[in-house]
Symmetry: C4
Subunit: 197 residues, 4 copies
Amino acid sequence: MNKARLEAFSDGVIAVIITIMVLDLKVPHDADPHALVPLIPVFLSYVLSFIYVGIYWNNHHHMFHAVHRVNGAIPWANLHLLFWLSLVPFVTGWMDETHFAPFQVAAYGVVLIAAACAYTILTKVLVAEHGKDSLIARALGRDFKGNISLAIYVVAIAVAFWERWIACALYALVAAIWLVPDRRFERLLDEKRKVES
Amino acid sequence: MNKARLEAFSDGVIAVIITIMVLDLKVPHDADPHALVPLIPVFLSYVLSFIYVGIYWNNHHHMFHAVHRVNGAIPWANLHLLFWLSLVPFVTGWMDETHFAPFQVAAYGVVLIAAACAYTILTKVLVAEHGKDSLIARALGRDFKGNISLAIYVVAIAVAFWERWIACALYALVAAIWLVPDRRFERLLDEKRKVES
Amino acid sequence: MNKARLEAFSDGVIAVIITIMVLDLKVPHDADPHALVPLIPVFLSYVLSFIYVGIYWNNHHHMFHAVHRVNGAIPWANLHLLFWLSLVPFVTGWMDETHFAPFQVAAYGVVLIAAACAYTILTKVLVAEHGKDSLIARALGRDFKGNISLAIYVVAIAVAFWERWIACALYALVAAIWLVPDRRFERLLDEKRKVES
Amino acid sequence: MNKARLEAFSDGVIAVIITIMVLDLKVPHDADPHALVPLIPVFLSYVLSFIYVGIYWNNHHHMFHAVHRVNGAIPWANLHLLFWLSLVPFVTGWMDETHFAPFQVAAYGVVLIAAACAYTILTKVLVAEHGKDSLIARALGRDFKGNISLAIYVVAIAVAFWERWIACALYALVAAIWLVPDRRFERLLDEKRKVES
């Protein structure tokens, strides 16, 4: 099996997901600039979801640099991740449509948790194939950011029923944590290059 | 002709198919969590269709590893498969919209049979090009899973008019059969590698 | 410049065009199987448009095998072709929505003519870059099929205002002419291989 | 990191953006040819947006020929550009829906400015990685076209509130400036080849 087509397919699916979200930005029929005001939270949720999907693409891209072999389980672990990402436009639209009602804000967090778990499963499947001493296993390490993110998501979901804007702020906080690029793979690949030369 | 672009185009079409299905998950306008209840069967049908399209991508991906030459008929056999897959979002949405009415549940099965036949035609065209002793011919073998699937689809379509949920369960059963990865290609490629080394 | 990315982008755009057409197949809300009857012409127009876009992808794919250099004009000639192809879902939907009214059936033909002209322009630009003795120039030859198609389109557009189903039959006839694979490129590439070996 | 996947993902997103705009061309329900008249400005705005997205793809494609290394910041600068491009279908649809109201025509210009700035940021990030003497830095040079475009956009936005069609004409003017292919990269790559041979 080759990883090139797995990457190409993932790129295609993520590219479609990230762009169909813009279809949820319903065009206001009113020419009045004030018609834009209710669109502001909708726009911000679009920005947040765009960033989240972008983060997943970016991390996926980084991680697959260290992938050398693809077994039968990896495509399914990957599709599982894509499944949860494909629900991001749905939960974003649902939040928008219900004016950020508590249940829907919590549902957004549930999809984010599910995507994070799917990503973790994918990393486990990749590490199982490559071995505990492989570059990929060492690069992933203890996954501090991943664990922190899960904790914040859980808090955000609980908080959503009490004060939904705090939940949204917490989702934005997780995105901010991940926007800082993940240098683990770069650092190890650099080390490897130095050792080889 | 080269197979790279055939794979890239197929990946693109399948990526779009698998993600536009999420547009059928119409966002409920009601903030009430109970508005989610009628969405449950819709969601399950989305999951099932996602898995089906994922299975086709996965098998397509595996099979094309053993493809060495592309003749004039192969792109058309491939487009024929993509055509039936492109109807999966339509029949999924139609089942959802009619609350899983018998005729629509049967129609879902008809599209699945058509896609399965299109896949079989594609394999025949590939084997015709590569010869009966080729890796691809031997890997495909007697296609036990394919025949079983067709039989279950036929039963499911008949049963749909009598007890539609059994039909849905049978569709899920076929998906489960295929989720177990198809190791025929891997096994033969491994053998080939051993022989060569 | 490299042709790989031009091919990848074209594949992406054509993949999206060919699959968004299925969104025009509006799901009937009625569970009654008879609700399917008005869908039959809509379905047939979807099949025809799918085949047309498939033919363009296939010919594009074949022609680019013989492309060796990409100059500044080629991406624009290519985008021009993609522009007219992107209107195929629109005119297909418009025909469907107006129950194949004469003007809309003619409009479908106009977009087909425009796409055919755009394809011809692309071939001219490619031949201009590669020279009159290049493989691509010789493979394209006198373009008999292209000229016949243009003539049939013109007749079909005129006939649409008098008997629209004949126009539709003529569109299907052109598709049938092209479904027969274009062996010009294969033949010349084979000859070239023989000469080289 | 490799630039291939960055290019593939960008191609995917831009391919989806350029084709979902056609979904904004709402099919008129009326069979009367006159129903096409109000579609004319909508169609022209589609053409303009198609050209703009095509220009960005084309320039992106050219610029990445000179990219040799991808650091952690480049994917984000690239996603930032894709974000603003993804809003082009939205502002196009909004202009159409409000019959080119002044505020919406200005909003179109704001998205164009934002995309232009995002492109400039991407070039700065690429130059920072490759160095001031790199091929890419020299090819981009003083970016005369970019600065002129920004100036015209600002004028167009101001003019939109006074005479909106002049604003639209100015947007078309900028597109025309860029349609002339940017030969800076080709020229330098040619020089480089000559020096090397």
